[in-house]
């Protein structure tokens, strides 16, 4: 008998990790993505492998997820991270007032840290604002936003998963209250066809709400865009964070030969209509310069907007008040729709953990006993994604 077939909607970090997890558990998997893989939010994120320190005070659930996944990813995806660690720095007296709560949060969440002197911080990062009053080192890191998910996809592919790009879901097929598959449009040929599925997983990220609506169900999702700015030059080697309550432009992630400053935060209804806010470019420069004054003179490479998929219902003002955690919805329990699961929220750092939770729900629904193996299996290199299929 053929193993059950799962269709995963969405070729971002989440969909890639879900496909990998399910394929490892022996299921037949098909990923459908309307564009190129990682062309939604995934590719555009900050490129920050979170230690969780950013959320250690206000969002401890997410912080704990981050540090756990951070350690797993370093093990299963060697070569996908710039080994540089992160530094949280206090610049003002207000920042210093935040320090005790910050250190306590790191302890509570189990995030390893080391406080270093301002002199040492400046020796490590000569471009850092010399007004630095305190500095805490944490296991943040720079990741390649596209190539890590490609490794999930490559490994999934090697276990038989099919990745269908430029394939957009037009309809979620149902028999009564049970999802039986999807009707997709292939944008290479502009033909439509159906793909049958035992279970359909909605891993649409910021688009998950739109996809769920096709099945007539609602997920409490708030697309929340932010503007990011990449400047030429690597002004710092460690990931620099402002030691204060998460705000705008308070992270500088060095990436290749660039430095990426981010982000701002607001909320939108439609993740396809983000409207890059030009005035946020100046804001990012201004805030970034508070961490690294030389950033002010750095040449702009690009500015862009990316939509975070945050869990929360209407009423959010900026998105900052919403948790970065994730949630898996089994729509059978919640909405009486069988065969349909949505994984929403989360971060690129926690994609593997999100996939584990989702795949647990999927195999349970299918009545299978297949444990998760993604904590141990080392991923294939990203280049393997492009290997010719036999």
């Amino acid at each position: 008998m053929n193993p059950p077939h799962v269709v995963v909607i969405g070729g971002g970090a989440t969909g890639a990790a879900v496909a990998h997890d399910l394929a490892l558990r022996g299921l037949r998997v098909t990923v459908v993505e309307r564009g190129e893989v990682t062309s939604g939010t995934t590719g555009r994120h900050h490129g920050l492998l979170h230690s969780g320190a950013r959320y250690a005070v206000k969002d401890q659930e997410s912080a704990k997820e981050c540090i756990e996944e951070n350690m797993i990813l370093r093990r299963i995806a060697p070569g996908s991270f710039e080994l540089n660690n992160g530094l949280f720095v206090a610049i003002t007296d207000e920042d210093m007032a935040y320090r005790p709560a910050f250190l306590e949060g790191l302890e509570t969440c189990g995030i390893p840290y080391k406080e270093i002197t301002p002199q040492e911080a400046l020796a490590r990062e000569p471009n850092l604002n010399p007004a630095v009053k305190a500095a805490v080192e944490v296991p943040d890191g720079t990741m390649d936003a596209m190539r890590l998910p490609l490794r999930f996809l490559a490994t999934a592919q090697s276990h038989g998963a099919r990745i269908l790009t430029y394939t957009e879901v037009e309809e979620i097929l149902m028999q009564g209250r049970t999802v039986t598959g999807v009707r997709v449009r292939d944008h290479v040929t502009e033909q439509t066809y159906t793909i049958g599925a035992d279970i359909v997983v909605n891993a649409g990220g910021a688009w998950a709400g739109k996809i769920a609506a096709l099945a007539g169900v609602d997920v409490p999702l708030q697309p929340s865009p932010g503007v990011l700015v990449a400047v030429y030059g690597r002004w710092n080697n460690m990931v620099l964070n402002r030691m204060h309550r998460s705000g705008d432009g308070d992270i500088i992630v060095p990436q290749r030969t660039l430095s990426v400053i981010g982000t701002s935060s607001w909320v939108v209804e439609d993740p396809d209509r983000l409207e890059m806010k030009a005035e946020h470019i100046d804001l990012m420069y201004e805030y970034g310069a508070q961490l690294v004054p030389a950033i002010r003179e750095a040449k702009l490479r690009a500015a862009w907007a990316a939509a975070r998929p945050l869990i929360g219902s209407g009423g959010a003002q900026t998105g900052r008040e919403l948790s970065r955690t994730f949630k898996c919805f089994d729509h059978a329990e919640r909405d009486g729709v069988e065969g349909f699961v949505t994984i929403a929220g989360g971060k690129a750092t926690t994609a593997r953990g999100m996939a584990e939770v989702t795949a647990n729900v999927v195999v349970k629904k299918l009545g299978l006993d297949a444990p998760c193996r993604t904590r141990e299996v080392v991923l294939l290199p990203h280049t393997a994604y492009y290997r010719r299929r036999a």
């Binding site: 309307r34 564009g35 190129e36 893989v37 990682t38 062309s39 590719g43 490129g47 996908s80 710039e82 080994l83 540089n84 660690n85 080391k114 040492e120 020796a123 490590r124 990062e125 000569p126 471009n127 080192e137 720079t142 390649d144 936003a145 596209m146 190539r147 430029y166 957009e168 944008h187 290479v188 502009e190 990011l228 990449a230 030059g233 690597r234 080697n237 460690m238 060095p254 990436q255 290749r256 030969t257 660039l258 990426v260 396809d272 209509r273 890059m276 030009a278 470019i281 490479r301 690009a302 500015a303 862009w304 990316a306 290199p381 990203h382 280049t383 393997a384 492009y386 290997r387 010719r388």
Partner: protein
């Protein structure tokens, strides 16, 4: 705000076949990039296909021809082109899938066997002292694997067996910083008729490279290495 005409190459096997150019008028702001324009057009026409991911010239996905020149669409501002008409076409010398989407499989078939590790030691801020646990700061390689160099190379255009500038540049990086790779094996791989000796030194690859890899210069470096044999030992230079 200015209005610009975009002529976009359209092709879909069986659907838009033979290829044609579709014309669009789009209002642009000073910061609008070619990729922003494509994203905007796709809202009304979901059949328009192109590759993109990071939107800041770090992933190398959105390579295309803009007014005949190989660029990354995400870091090409329309205003900087200083023309009223912008022609957008897919990269050359790579199999065409749909519209502006090319198949990167042949690129990676030549590139992957070289085995270049994707992280390297960072040469930025040489005076800074990395934390003990890290030892030395690392960063990703400059090559974005975008394929612009292959599109621009006249030899790739006529000889599909040529290893090409991207794979040769990767090989040179292994020779420069082996990081555990076997240098003699990599040198043997490029010391062939279709390897570094095939290059005609047109240097178009270095001209279009969006991240200063200088594949042309690295090919010349490989020739020097092979002639002087300084890396034969395979050890660190």
């Amino acid at each position: 705000m200015a209005e610009v005409t975009f002529k976009i190459y359209r092709y879909k096997p069986g659907a838009i076949d033979p290829p044609r150019y579709d014309t669009y008028r789009v209002s642009i702001e000073p910061h609008t990039t070619v990729l922003d324009v494509l994203e905007h057009l796709r809202l009304d026409d979901p059949t328009l296909t192109y590759r993109h991911s990071c939107h800041h010239g770090s992933c190398g996905t959105c390579g295309m021809l803009v007014n005949g020149k190989e660029v990354l669409a995400c870091v090409t501002r329309v205003a900087d082109l200083k023309t009223d008409t912008v022609v957008i076409e897919p990269l050359r010398h790579q199999p065409l899938i749909s519209d502006l989407v090319v198949d990167m499989t042949p690129f990676f078939e030549k590139y992957e066997p070289v085995g270049m590790p994707y992280i390297r030691e960072s040469e930025y801020l040489p005076h800074s002292q990395p934390p003990e646990e890290v030892g030395a700061y690392t960063r990703f390689e400059n090559c974005l694997e975008c394929g612009l160099c292959l599109s621009a190379c006249p030899v790739v255009g006529s000889d599909p067996d040529y290893l090409g500038p991207a794979a040769l540049a990767a090989a040179a990086r292994v020779v420069q910083e082996p990081r555990g790779q076997d240098v003699p094996t990599v040198l043997a791989m490029v010391d062939t008729e279709e390897g570094c000796w095939r290059c005609h030194a047109a240097m178009e690859c270095s001209e279009v490279c969006p991240n200063d890899v200088d594949p042309g210069g690295l090919i010349m470096f490989l020739r020097r290495e092979l002639l002087t044999g300084t890396s034969r030992s395979g050890g660190k230079r």
